[in-house]
């Protein structure tokens, strides 16, 4: 137990401070090379550095490798490789606009190391009722899980700080759930993601100094998905991610197809006093932000806080679900 506490403290420090220290240098480098994009929701349309995914992946790899030095677990190795591959997919998408299908298909390949390393158990555990053994179907679930979590986090990266702040909340909730289930190694691996995204939030929050880009959000999503699989907490991870899943569900059920996010009509409009409201355009997708601002115009920060509160709510549900895992009827 002492070894696990030391590992938890050490990797949390490495995760937080590596991103916290590297990101300002990355911002300067990106600005110098004119790798900036316009923030349309900001007064004056400030130019913001992108992609910040480089500091995110450095933080994830550095801290997960420290964790690997402690436990030499194949599961941690699977997380590192999956995250790194997702970063490669994201950086390609950052550099050139790919079709809507590119990311889901490419992310499916990122899940293959988990299968090759055998870092999973082919059982799907549900609270109260127990688990089902699905050896063949579970392979499909692993392949689908990484694109789903990657694109789910990507779909909420719409306003300053939302993706990093929400990932931080969901990861800490997942970590709490894993501690409840006494899966300490993977709980610490989830702490890493929580602290990496928290450190990045410092620069991503309104007004953003850097955007994570696809490389950043896909690392967030793929790492989260890999932790869910190797930690054997797929259902709990889905519960902690419910607001983001809800966003993807609303989007898909209103658009009825997978489409690259740059091609969609804006579901919100910006008022003269820089508040966001829901558009009346029938062709625009329904999203969680559109739902939140449907009744009242809100600032970007206010919308962020509503989504974070939803994240905390679903995080509490995830921890309750973890407790229910031990209950049998």
């Amino acid at each position: 137990m002492e070894n696990q506490i030391i590992a938890a403290v050490l990797v949390s420090i490495v995760a937080f401070f590596s991103v916290f220290v590297i990101t300002p240098f990355l911002i300067k480098y990106l600005e110098k090379r004119n790798l900036v994009v316009k923030d349309y929701n900001r007064k004056g349309g400030a130019m913001v550095a992108r992609p910040g995914g480089i500091s995110i992946i450095i933080g994830v790899i550095a801290s997960e490798l420290v964790l690997y030095a402690f436990f030499q677990s194949i599961q941690i190795l699977a997380i590192v490789i999956t995250s790194s591959l997702a970063f490669c997919v994201g950086i390609i998408d950052d550099r050139r606009v790919m079709s809507g299908w590119f990311k889901p298909v490419a992310l499916a390949f990122c899940a293959i190391p988990i299968l090759l390393l055998g870092a999973y158990e082919p059982e799907l555990a549900f609270p109260i009722f127990g688990s089902v053994n699905i050896p063949v179907l579970y392979i499909g679930l692993v392949i689908f899980m990484i694109p789903i979590t990657g694109n789910t986090i990507n779909s909420i990266d719409v306003l300053n700080g939302i993706a990093s702040g929400f990932t931080s909340i969901a990861s800490f909730a997942l970590s709490g759930a894993l501690f409840v289930m006494q899966n300490y190694e993977i709980a610490i691996a989830s702490l890493v993601l929580g602290f990496v995204s928290l450190a990045f939030y410092r620069y991503h929050k309104f007004p953003s100094r850097v955007f994570p880009g696809d490389s950043g959000v896909l690392v967030f999503g793929a790492t989260y998905g890999a932790i869910a699989i190797v930690g054997h907490v797929e259902v709990i991870a889905a519960v902690a991610l419910l607001p983001a899943i809800m966003n993807s569900f609303l989007f898909l059920s209103s658009m009825k197809k997978i489409i690259e996010h740059r091609q969609i009509k804006n579901p919100t409009f910006l008022s003269d006093d820089y508040k966001l409201g829901a558009t009346h355009d029938k062709d625009a997708p329904i999203t969680i932000v559109r739902l939140i601002v449907a009744a009242k115009l809100l600032t970007e920060q206010e919308i962020g806080f509503v989504i974070f509160k939803l994240g905390i709510f679903s995080g509490i549900l995830a921890v309750i679900t973890a407790f229910l895992m031990g209950v049998r009827i």
Partner: protein
């Protein structure tokens, strides 16, 4: 409270996950469509997968109905 319907939506999603999991583990998992045991196990599993997909469709339908109700309610308020 402005976001209350959204919380309701998230809570309903959670309940559906618990209920769906229960149905799969407690009822669908142990179910066998071959009383005499002469049905191909793959066919038996295929029928179970089809039922699971039906459950997912029902899940999506319920959520779509709630989504439309919430969105209309939000726009009216």
């Amino acid at each position: 409270m402005m976001a209350r319907p959204v919380y309701t939506f998230v809570f309903v999603m959670w309940l559906l996950i618990l209920a769906g999991g229960g149905l799969i583990v407690a009822i669908l998992g142990p179910l066998s469509f071959s009383e005499s045991g002469d049905l191909d196990p793959i066919l038996n599993s295929g029928i179970k997968v089809a039922i699971a997909l039906l459950l997912v469709t029902a899940w999506v339908f319920i959520l779509s109905t709630i989504k439309n109700w919430i969105f209309k309610k939000q726009l009216k308020s």
